[in-house]
């Protein structure tokens, strides 16, 4: 073969390669966005949500991650829901409920207009079976076992009547966040610890959406349940797409590949700022339901009285704890780290839950005051040595290990500030950032730790994790306790609020608990981060936030957002970026082809010169 031939072949090959690239770029661009666009060719309206978590399980008995429980919530209806306005209990599967006089028996009336997606009726028997299964089969209690721990017996005397008998009074009986599953499907399941509910589609459910497809770490697909008792959702399809990288998800939103991005747990200030100026995108910056706190190790211990872990003994002095918090400039954290997308921390429960929100009185408040902090430390006997370092009782300079989540950029950022603020006080900081903080945390091997919880409309859970009852039985056990706080005064208040069925009186007790927690100085709430999320207005015309004004969309206590979302009528951008993409793709292809051609021509000349 002559060299000319050979070059011709190479050129053809190269051209073919480039053409293939250009084609996938150009051709696939219009094809690609089509299915995700609100208005697709076949008229199907699809809402695509970018998520960062991978699904742990789709079985409501196993799922614990937010993404999975959110999807379960769309698939299965609960007994009661929370009002999107002020989160008071509203009918779900149950239309009415009432406790007995002795507070130990609750009777629910189950609606008769709810059907499973396979056409069978939803009955009280399904609910009774679900609860009983969790009470009797340990493997089914993995995710929601705590809800039934206090249940004595659950029965269904008629298809519309559910009776739950309790061991002792429980104020959270209208906050049973347990997906009710169809008995006729689930009673065939053998081992609940291994059944992930992701093999046969569509999955029978009674929620606003029906699960139709799932590909791990790629997507979860749901279609609208036309028989949903509250009315069918307006979108025909709901897709959760997985993006490992939050920034990639934001980029996908910019391009219209997805309709909604929540971020995990929130968009960064830079992302929010850059999206605010973008066309067809709305940034929803809502007061969050989380608190962001600095937890102190109060000396880890078990119920049997054994102490373990190695928290610094100086932290047992309340003056030291207060001094540390006095030296934390919460305003700077809000301004610099959250860049305004958070509210300065006060009490334990975020202001969004106005019933339970509490803030310290002016003389109780530990406002930013480094001078006072230094004074308190001096008083407590931790004085500076010659090098300006504060010295502990053992004669060694004080250095605290601060446990941080390597996956949370805010932890690292705030940690940097703590290091410098406390450094000025004369206290060293060792920022210990781990992917998985659980181990040192549960073993009490830390001094301080970044902490944060999402608060439910009913605050029982976040309050319970600071009671002595939540401590592990022995150092070897795991328990619900957050950071080993055990305070008698707090516990008495906790017991009182749990048995209090009068909402106003209960709120008052809860606020007194928060006050106690604040004074103890073991949980120092620095901020309430906002829920910063964004969606495309050319795909979603309107969507319900919770609470209705200034609320969030992803991770609501309910299915309101996706159920209520209204597709944008006409898609003003359809054809826009698509055809622009084609043109750009073809133009790019032509440019590359020309360049390759020119390159090859030049090469041939050059090779010709090379000939001896």
């Amino acid at each position: 073969m002559s060299r000319a031939d050979q070059h011709g072949r190479t050129a053809r090959l190269a051209a073919a390669g480039v053409a293939a690239l250009a084609l996938t770029a150009g051709l696939a661009t219009p094809l690609n966005p089509a299915p995700q666009r609100a208005a697709a060719a076949d008229g199907k309206k699809t809402l695509t949500v970018a998520v960062a978590q991978s699904v742990d399980s789709l079985s409501p008995f196993l799922a614990t991650r937010l993404v999975s429980t959110s999807i379960n919530r769309l698939m299965y209806e609960y007994l009661t829901d929370y009002d999107p306005g002020d989160a008071h209990p509203v009918p779900g599967l149950a239309t009415r409920w009432s406790p007995s006089a002795d507070k130990l028996t609750w009777t629910y009336t189950i609606r008769s207009d709810a059907t499973w997606s396979d056409g069978r009726k939803v009955t009280a028997e399904d609910a009774a079976w679900t609860f009983t299964k969790m009470m009797t089969d340990e493997k089914a209690a993995t995710a929601n076992g705590s809800f039934v721990a206090n249940f004595r017996e659950v029965t269904a005397p008629s298809p519309t009547r559910l009776v739950i008998r309790l061991k002792k009074p429980q104020a959270t009986m209208t906050a049973l966040d347990v997906p009710i599953v169809p008995k006729h499907v689930w009673e065939k399941v053998g081992d609940f610890s291994k059944f992930n509910n992701d093999k046969s589609f569509p999955v029978v459910g009674d929620g606003p959406f029906v699960l139709t497809a799932y590909k791990p770490d790629s997507y979860v697909r749901l279609k609208a349940n036309q028989r949903f008792w509250r009315g069918a959702p307006k979108f025909d399809e709901l897709v959760f797409r997985y993006y490992k990288d939050q920034d990639a998800a934001v980029a996908a939103l910019r391009k219209g590949e997805v309709s909604f991005v929540a971020g995990s747990p929130s968009l960064t200030p830079a992302q929010a700022a850059s999206l605010k100026g973008a066309k067809h995108i709305r940034v929803n910056d809502a007061p969050g339901r989380r608190f962001y706190a600095l937890a102190v190790n109060p000396g880890a211990r078990a119920k049997d009285g054994q102490k373990f872990g190695d928290g610094d003994p100086s932290l047992l002095d309340v003056r030291v704890r207060h001094a540390l918090f006095l030296a934390v400039d919460r305003k700077t954290i809000i301004d610099k780290v959250f860049q305004g997308h958070a509210v300065e921390g006060q009490g334990y429960i975020p202001p969004r839950f106005s019933t339970y929100f509490w803030k310290p009185s002016p003389d109780q408040k530990l406002a930013y005051d480094p001078a006072k902090a230094a004074r308190l430390l001096d008083e407590a006997g931790y004085r500076k040595n010659a090098e300006g370092r504060r010295v502990g009782k053992d004669g060694k300079p004080l250095t605290y290990r601060v446990l941080c989540h390597a996956t949370d950029p805010n932890d690292k950022a705030v940690g940097q500030y703590l290091k410098e603020w406390w450094g000025k006080l004369g206290i060293g900081v060792n920022l210990d950032c781990l992917d998985n903080v659980t181990d040192p945390w549960l073993a009490g091997r830390y001094d301080l730790a970044f902490d944060g919880w999402s608060v439910n409309p009913d605050p029982d859970f976040v309050l319970s994790i600071h009671t002595c009852a939540a401590l592990p039985d022995t150092p070897k056990d795991t328990a619900a306790t957050d950071n080993f706080i055990c305070d008698k005064a707090y516990d008495r208040l906790y017991a009182r609020q749990l048995a209090e069925y009068d909402p106003a009186k209960r709120a008052d007790i809860v606020q007194r608990m928060e006050s106690r927690l604040y004074d103890l100085g073991y949980m120092n709430v620095m901020a309430y981060p906002n829920a910063v999320e964004a969606y495309r207005t050319d795909q979603i015309a309107s969507i319900e936030t919770m609470p209705k004004d200034a609320g969030n969309i992803y991770g609501q206590d309910g299915y309101w957002s996706w159920w209520s979302a209204v597709p944008a009528d006409s898609d003003p951008s359809s054809g826009g970026p698509g055809s622009a993409g084609v043109i750009a793709g073809i133009a790019g292809g032509v440019v590359v082809l020309t360049a390759v051609g020119a390159f090859l021509a030049l090469r041939r000349r050059a090779t010709a010169d090379d000939r001896e």
């Binding site: 200030p269 830079a270 700022a273 850059s274 700077t332 610099k336 941080c404 940097q416 781990l434 992917d435």
Partner: protein
């Protein structure tokens, strides 16, 4: 030599065994891949063994000359060798460019405390607004805390270079120690050591390093250790081959006969002869260590309170610089990593070519 091959009777015969071994090992070096940057030059091919053979022979001849001739002070001999090395190195333009870049970087890193000061890394009194684009005051803009990015990139060079150098030194030191001892003591010890080496060679480096950083507490030391203990096998194989070649020479036999112990032979005869190889290997290894450090920092496995180039990129990604299009946050640290890695590779290739003239690849 085992079977099948008639040992050539010419002068090369003495080194033939070493060369064979090296041939096999050079392939092993390629096998390493991930960290064998410049594997092309080193072991370019199994058959590059001849080339190495030739080089070894040169060295052997020089040594022989040195031993036979009137005893000159060792330092004088070394100085001449260094001068000769430099004369040859000078002819490699790419190598010179790499060296110039490295000197510049080193100066920058060393003068950083004076030029930018450690305050540049402080967050509480960061001078600017977060994520500001480049301006007259901040030439490369600011990062997520409002710190000056130019200053941070300069400051970060200290950690990146330090980790790169220390990890490379650790890796090459382990490799050289294993290689020399495995080459010197044959038998069971060598077999076990080479089995261990092979085993480390097939471990996916990044996977192992990630696992190690997960096991140990997060600090610069951990990163250095993780890189050092996962990347040494290439060096071990090369050094062992060279050791075998050196030990096959007659004068080693003589040294032994004169009562030189193991330590004497290894430190006085083998070590000086493998030093050039070790030097070249270190230079190449720094480049890959810097990349690995950046990779680990980017995966969030570094020390978050220390400013490094990889850490800056990780910060940038976490802050959302990619989707926001804040290129000034993203481009400089990456360019710095690539630039320094490239400079070390160029130097390493030049060094290798000088020491191994027949390959002539770096020209």
């Amino acid at each position: 030599m085992t079977t099948g091959v008639t040992p050539p009777a010419d002068a090369r015969g003495a080194d033939a065994r070493g060369a064979d071994v090296q041939g096999a090992d050079a392939r092993g070096a390629d096998a390493q891949g991930a960290d064998a940057r410049g594997a092309d030059a080193r072991g370019a091919d199994a058959r590059g063994a001849d080339a190495q053979n030739a080089a070894a022979q040169d060295a052997s001849a020089q040594d022989a000359a040195a031993h036979a001739g009137p005893r000159r002070p060792a330092w004088q001999r070394r100085r001449r060798a260094a001068a000769r090395f430099w004369r040859q190195y000078r002819t490699h333009r790419a190598g010179l460019a790499g060296l110039a870049a490295l000197v510049l970087c080193a100066l920058l890193a060393l003068t950083a405390p004076l030029a930018v000061g450690s305050d540049v890394a402080g967050v509480t009194d960061a001078p600017g607004q977060p994520l500001a684009p480049p301006s007259g005051r901040f030439w490369l803009g600011t990062d997520r805390y409002g710190r000056d990015l130019l200053g941070l990139v300069v400051w970060g060079s200290r950690v990146s270079l330090l980790v790169g150098l220390l990890a490379a030194v650790l890796s090459v030191a382990i490799g050289a120690a294993v290689g020399i001892t495995a080459g010197h003591f044959r038998g069971a010890y060598a077999t076990v050591m080479m089995r261990v080496t092979d085993w480390f060679l097939v471990m996916p480096t990044l996977v192992l390093a990630v696992a190690l950083t997960a096991v140990l507490p997060r600090s610069l030391g951990t990163v250095i250790l993780a890189i050092g203990v996962t990347t040494w096998p290439t060096t071990a194989r090369l050094v062992r081959a060279q050791t075998l070649a050196v030990e096959a020479r007659p004068y080693i036999e003589r040294a032994r006969a004169l009562g030189g112990g193991h330590a004497h032979v290894m430190t006085r005869h083998v070590l000086p002869n493998v030093m050039p190889l070790v030097l070249a290997q270190t230079t190449l290894m720094v480049s890959s260590s810097i990349l690995t450090e950046a990779t680990l920092a980017f995966l969030g496995l570094g020390d978050p309170t220390v400013v490094s180039w990889g850490g800056l990129l990780q910060d940038a990604r976490e802050a959302g610089a990619v989707s926001a299009g804040d290129w000034w946050y993203l481009v400089p640290p990456g360019l710095a990593i690539a630039g320094v890695a490239l400079a070390f590779t160029l130097c390493g290739r030049a060094v290798e070519t000088v020491l191994n003239p027949r390959l002539g690849v770096a020209r």
